[in-house]
């Protein structure tokens, strides 16, 4: 099963759902796709879908999927990288009213360049690249969250002293 999700961003993203529905209609993909379509107006004809899954259910779909298709949102990208899931993203665009700006375009390019995701920049590319999904092995992403937390800790300790508070 491939899991299609549009993230939690409060704007519809019909373009992605329509394109995937078309891919299935054309027989370009064999694997079953399940979609969480969020605020989309478009109702898929060729796949099972739901509007919004409860977080726990969402997580189990994500874990069980062989691959993920989504917007280029960091929440989804991070989750896919954590679970080592192949991910194909189509960035939400401002010009289609899918987001307030085009930062997902830059996110998609960067994570694609780093080997973490497959990125499609329009519906045609999506149709081509969907078949790379089952072969794609995402490159692991190292994070330095502890270093960031320690930098914040240094700030907090200075702040506590400045405020005359016993920090710890």
């Amino acid at each position: 099963m491939i899991f299609l999700t549009l993230g939690t961003y409060p704007l519809p993203f019909d373009r992605l759902v329509k394109a995937i529905d078309k891919v299935i209609a054309k027989g370009l993909i064999k694997e079953k796709i399940f979609a969480q379509i969020g605020l989309c107006d478009y109702r898929p004809r060729n796949m099972e879908y739901t509007e919004m899954l409860e977080k726990g259910v969402f997580d189990s779909y994500f874990r069980e999927a062989s691959g993920i298709i989504s917007h280029a949102g960091i929440g989804t990208i991070t989750m896919a990288l954590h679970l080592g899931k192949p991910l194909l993203v189509l960035p939400r665009r401002k010009c289609f009213g899918e987001h307030v700006n085009d930062h997902q375009l830059a996110t998609a390019k960067k994570y694609e360049e780093l080997g973490h995701v497959i990125a499609a920049y329009d519906e045609n590319q999506l149709m081509e690249k969907i078949n790379f999904l089952d072969k794609f092995v995402p490159r692991k992403r190292e994070n330095q969250s502890r270093l960031v937390a320690e930098r914040v800790a240094r700030f907090l300790n200075v702040l506590a002293v400045n405020k005359g508070i016993n920090g710890s």
Binding site: Y9, G73, I74, N143
Partner: protein, 158 residues
């Protein structure tokens, strides 16, 4: 020196990727002098999960296209700050949390803005707004720290 009082930390993030980043950070925040005691988010998503840690406030979503909604978020932010009086607000964004930072700043709190990893080529809009106000401003991309003054890179959370 007020030895009796511990540093009151408020943390917050918009639902979605911003919240994921905040939770990742909290996972490894044992070096902080205190755990956070107030949590702020924008929707019910994960609110229940956060409630296991402490009091949670939901301020609603807003973006720059809906100034009235933003005003509502600002009013709710001010109420939270007046009630909780945090010493510091730490956030991974986005705009609604900038409102919390600004409100807290009005009442003398420190602010830490960690710009979301989603902003690769330039800082987020709310980040650019916060750059003049935040006491500590971190980006998760080294090239952005070189591009902007008063912006530090200390690593990436995700």
């Amino acid at each position: 020196m007020d030895k009796q009082r511990a540093l009151k930390i408020c943390v917050g993030a918009s639902a979605g990727g911003h919240m994921n980043q905040l939770l990742e950070l909290l996972e490894v925040s044992e070096s902080w002098p205190q755990p956070p005691s107030v949590y702020v988010t924008t929707s019910e998503t994960l609110a229940e999960k956060l409630a296991e840690r402490g009091p949670v406030y939901i301020i609603g979503e807003c973006n720059r296209k809906h100034p009235l909604k933003a005003l509502g978020v600002l009013v709710r932010s001010l109420k939270i700050v007046i009630k909780e009086r945090p010493d510091v607000v730490i956030t991974t964004g986005s705009l609604p949390l900038a409102m919390v930072c600004l409100s807290a700043k009005l009442f003398g709190a420190g602010t830490v803005w960690i710009d979301s990893i989603a902003n690769v080529e330039r800082l987020s809009m709310s980040g650019r707004m916060m750059r003049g106000f935040a006491d500590l401003f971190l980006t998760q991309w080294p090239q952005l720290a070189r591009q902007y003054k008063n912006v530090e890179y200390a690593g990436n959370i995700v």
